[in-house]
Symmetry: C2
Subunit: 334 residues, 2 copies
DNA sequence: GACAATATCTGCAACGATGTACGGAAACAG
DNA sequence: CTGTTTCCGTACATCGTTGCAGATATTGTC
């Protein structure tokens, strides 16, 4: 049987409530009593029962993080940072994988997962703004990374369109004219894919280069999908002199398939990605990409969420935070 | 205010306890009453309060996973699979990053994290068997991946030494004689590094090739450490014709540095790793490595842990499970 | 038809903390 | 020295569930 507050109270010769008051930094306690309580706690090795505390207080001091797949490098790196930042403010992060399925996203917003957490960092991939707004419930939700620009919802995002435009412009500036895009999500309106694609088209337009739908390859944001997309284009005989992967995993998969097929990178085809995961730096050739400021995103999203939870942020409308980006020019597209 | 069991009881015209009994599959309930309760639950949209349930029952239905750093690809991929497997048995996984620091590993074993979980999957990097055994407490702990062969402790591992030996033997068979090893942890006795290193030496011995300490580069298991290790060897003028990274991240970082320096892989130096993370398949050249059967590890470690928690596994001594391995020969070391 | 055995349901206490309300002591004003 | 204010500490109820023990209904046995 674990040591309870009652045991501490008895040992310190005070009431149970006084122990509770000491632990909760209640103002009016004589230093002497406070000391006695602390001594008793140390002596007995008391640790507060978090479950009981949660039941009574209604707070769990856990944040929920909903991503499609934790094995995706971007999410893994993000989750790692989020956990570190959260712990500095005394919170833990509980992760849920949605597999990008609308049903799983809904249960994450409403079900048991929600109960276990005081607030949610949510990466909506299948749900749209209206669905999120109607299912989100009362506890704070901060949308992450994607770009559902809904005035009702808090959002921490990156400059998806601008960054994608910058990458594309970089490829164009290097003389590339037939830039294949990989990882488009045709039936998805929300989500970064659409915005990044928009940035791509805007860059083309600005450069006076025509948009060719044949160069747009749909696919999930995984290495194997990138490889498959390249294989598809090559097999169909579509010609292209650059690949823009809508995220790094896709770009790296694409680059691999190009090299396997004997296509030289960057001489024959330049390759660029999006996210600047650690792997991008160490790929061969190293991957040109855009860094969305993950540290800033982690810091500010956790900050906003906890501020909402603790009532420090009280804006009625959604708070929108957009992190900056940095183009990282490397060997794959100099 | 959320709907409670009491509300359901009132709506169904039964006692609170009967609702509880229905939810806990108590045997003696008339089908008719059971139906009424279920109807009331559906009508009111009742969901059990997990915190209250935990407080009363002492179970959280959460498993703890302690790894050094979730952004390490191996751990990210493992965590993802573990979560999926656990959810099939009705458990969630709460992750804690230890940073490979002994102090953090200890608090994960004893502190608040422990309270929140019914059992632990623990990757000890800094602690040794005795420390784990003495701090582990009463709830089940299954050691993961490393090779603290302690008869007191449950353990799911891979064939570290054998697999490392196989990789090294493969390099030797290809005619490599000066095989640099990267990622050694000199002052660590527990942990996979030592075992993998042992496998390496065993292979050398079996082939009658002398062991050269100058070829052993210490370093953390990250890409940048691999790159730094290669840089160190090259700068010191140490000659070598192969690199064995004690994990894939190290090997990939090493390979990157080699290529940057104009060393051809595999012609001049062959490179092999350990773990078979997804990235290894898509690297260029693709990375020869050994697959430790991650699916099997995930499946069996979760299985063992939950069996312990639920009292289905009652062996007094530690259960030891060793997953098989498969050598994946790819371009970096054909 | 009486008694035991079994099935079905219920009430109360408890898990371990916190919120509210209040009582007594000390400090201060007049 | 009384009355008010400020400190300090306590008792009791409560969060929403489950374990235990028991009450009541139903069935079976002879």
């Amino acid at each position: 049987m674990a040591v309870t507050m009652n045991d501490v109270a008895r040992a310190a010769g005070v009431s149970l409530k006084t122990v509770s008051n000491v632990l909760n930094d209640y103002e009016f306690i004589r230093p002497a009593t406070k000391q006695r309580v602390h001594d008793a706690i140390a002596e007995l090795g008391y640790e507060a029962n978090l479950t009981a505390r949660s039941l009574r207080s209604g707070k769990t001091r856990m944040l929920g993080l909903v991503v499609s797949d934790l094995s995706a490098p971007y999410y893994a790196e993000l989750a790692s940072r989020l956990m570190t930042v959260a712990s500095r403010r005394g919170y833990r992060v509980l992760i849920e994988q949605s597999g990008a399925a609308a049903e799983n996203e809904r249960t994450a917003l409403q079900g048991a997962f929600r109960q276990l957490t005081d607030g949610l960092l949510f990466t909506p991939l299948a749900m749209d703004a209206d669905a999120v707004a109607s299912f989100r419930g009362k506890k704070p939700v901060v949308l992450l990374g994607e770009h559902i620009m809904d005035p009702r919802l808090d959002l921490v995002t990156m400059k998806n369109a601008e960054a994608a435009q910058a990458v594309t412009a970089h490829l164009l500036a290097a003389g590339r004219r037939r830039i294949a895009v990989m990882g488009a999500h045709p039936e998805e309106s929300a989500g970064g894919a659409g915005l990044r694609l928009r940035g791509y088209r805007k860059a083309l337009e600005a450069a006076g280069v025509g948009f060719d739908p044949a160069l747009v390859a749909p696919g999930e944001w995984r290495r194997d999908a990138g490889a498959a997309a390249v294989a598809g284009l090559l097999d169909r005989g579509v010609s292209f002199d650059a690949v823009f992967g809508l995220n790094d995993a896709i770009a790296l998969g694409a680059m691999h398939e190009l090299l396997v097929r004997g296509v030289r990178v960057p001489q024959d085809v330049a390759v660029a990605g999006f996210d600047d995961i650690d792997e991008a730096r160490f790929a061969s050739p190293s991957l040109t990409t855009v860094s969305p400021g993950m540290d800033e995103i982690a810091e500010r999203s956790i900050g906003l969420l906890i501020d909402r939870i603790e009532g420090l942020e009280t804006a009625d409308a959604g708070v929108h935070i957009e992190a900056g980006f940095v183009l990282k020019v490397r060997e794959s597209a100099p």
